[in-house]
């Protein structure tokens, strides 16, 4: 059997879903090996949110007005903080090269990595946010819209953030550069996420904001992995 016969699956593009599955399973197992890190991300979210009442005072009406914005900005920062983890470790130990040279399509593999990043950083925020919302005196209805908004918004944050993380692989400029690149792109997600809770508070339905967040997510799901793949290949060149 010459090596030529045993080449990898003939139609690599057919392997897209296996690629997603491979990356998701591998990154989740990696993340679960260092559970403490997930805890740190979550604690960062809690701390940032809890700092605001110290800054603006405990006055309930004010906290209610600030609540959604604070919870969403803190979610942005928590997501931003954990982005380098997607590529940096793999870049330094050489696995990113092997991933880029795999027959599976690179955007699929990267989607799996981003999904794993969301499950370990975005989802815990969604679960934690109603609890923190109570600190800000948000009503039950507002808390549920906050959680739903984060559920739809945080994957978009991971997807857009992954582009920035891929562009800054191996650069010594550090987190500041990543924040500068990505936070402007986060603005629409923040606007509609926090806007959804405000709409509900004012008695309107938040379906408009949530559907726009959903649309943003779909666009990001299609576009971000492709941009990330290009950025990873550029970084490996």
């Amino acid at each position: 059997m010459t090596p030529f016969d045993a080449v990898a699956p003939s139609a690599p593009s057919a392997g897209a879903w296996e690629g997603v599955a491979w990356a998701l399973a591998r990154d989740l197992r990696l993340a679960l090996r260092s559970k403490a890190e997930i805890g740190v991300q979550l604690l960062f979210y809690v701390i940032v949110v809890s700092l605001f009442p110290l800054g603006v005072g405990p006055e309930p009406a004010l906290l209610r007005a600030l609540g959604p914005g604070v919870l969403w900005v803190a979610a942005l920062l928590a997501s931003l903080l954990s982005l380098p983890r997607i590529f940096t470790a793999d870049f330094s130990d050489g696995t990113l090269e092997q991933i880029a040279l795999s027959p599976y399509p690179l955007p699929a593999l990267i989607s799996g990595k981003i999904a794993a990043h969301w499950l370990t950083t975005g989802l815990p925020l969604v679960v934690m946010s109603p609890l923190l919302g109570i600190q800000f005196g948000l009503s039950g209805n507002e808390l549920s819209i906050l959680a739903v908004g984060l559920l739809v918004g945080t994957p978009t944050l991971s997807l857009l953030g992954a582009i920035g993380a891929a562009l800054t692989i191996g650069l010594r400029a550090g987190g500041g550069l990543l924040a500068l690149l990505i936070l402007p792109l986060y603005a629409p997600v923040l606007i509609f996420g926090a806007g959804a809770v405000d709409a509900v508070r004012a008695g309107f339905s938040a379906s408009a904001q949530l559907s726009l967040l959903g649309a943003g997510l779909l666009v990001a799901i299609v576009g971000a992995p492709i941009a990330c793949a290009a950025a990873v290949r550029i970084a490996l060149d």
Partner: protein, 196 residues
């Protein structure tokens, strides 16, 4: 080119089935860059990379399905055990089977049975190199691109490496190897390329 400095120019070679190119040269002469270009990771400033006669861009799907690149980095995750690392890498490259049995057998071939359950971070650099080389037993690819494969491993393992490369070439495989050791590969059509 690296940082806009030309490392080497008008290098031209083509390899057929069963042929091996050994690239030598001082450190910094561009051996790694040449190998990365050959494996489709990097761009060449000028000139083209052809696979099976067709010019291919970096990360070309056809080339990715045919190349096995082992660079300086061992591509091991510290949190994973030796076995898990190899399982992940072989399934990443869609190696047929890729189950634990083939992985254990490969680790055995490189006398790493006892270390197979240990997380990679506790292993020595030599052991990690051998795990990286164990991929040669697992992943079937026509084109091998190996960057200093014989570094940090002892004589017995170099012999194992030479046997693997010889059998790869005998079944019609191609190899591009950068190395300082003169690998004794008998009966293979060996070509030398020295980068000054």
């Amino acid at each position: 080119m690296r940082f806009a400095a030309t490392l080497f120019a008008n290098v031209d070679f083509s390899l057929g089935n069963g042929e091996m190119l050994v690239v030598t040269g001082a450190n910094g002469s561009g051996k790694t860059t040449l190998l990365r270009i050959a494996s489709g990771l990097s761009h060449a400033a000028h000139g083209a990379l052809k696979w099976r006669g067709i010019a291919v861009a970096p990360f070309d799907a056809e080339l990715r399905a045919s190349v096995l690149y082992i660079g300086h980095a061992t591509a091991l995750k510290d949190e994973f055990t030796a076995e898990e690392n190899l399982l992940a890498l072989s399934s990443l490259h869609g190696a047929p089977g890729g189950e634990r049995a083939a992985v254990r057998e490969a680790l055995g071939a490189w006398s790493l049975d006892r270390q197979s359950r240990l997380p990679a971070r506790v292993l020595s650099q030599g052991q990690r190199r051998r795990i990286a080389l164990a991929r040669l037993n697992l992943i079937r690819r026509p084109l091998w691109v190996l960057d200093e494969p014989a570094s940090a491993i002892d004589a017995a393992d170099v012999a194992q490496l030479e046997r693997l490369i010889a059998s790869h070439l005998s079944t019609g495989g191609i190899a591009v190897i950068a190395t300082h050791h003169d690998l004794a590969i008998h009966g293979a059509r060996k070509r030398m390329l020295r980068l000054s």
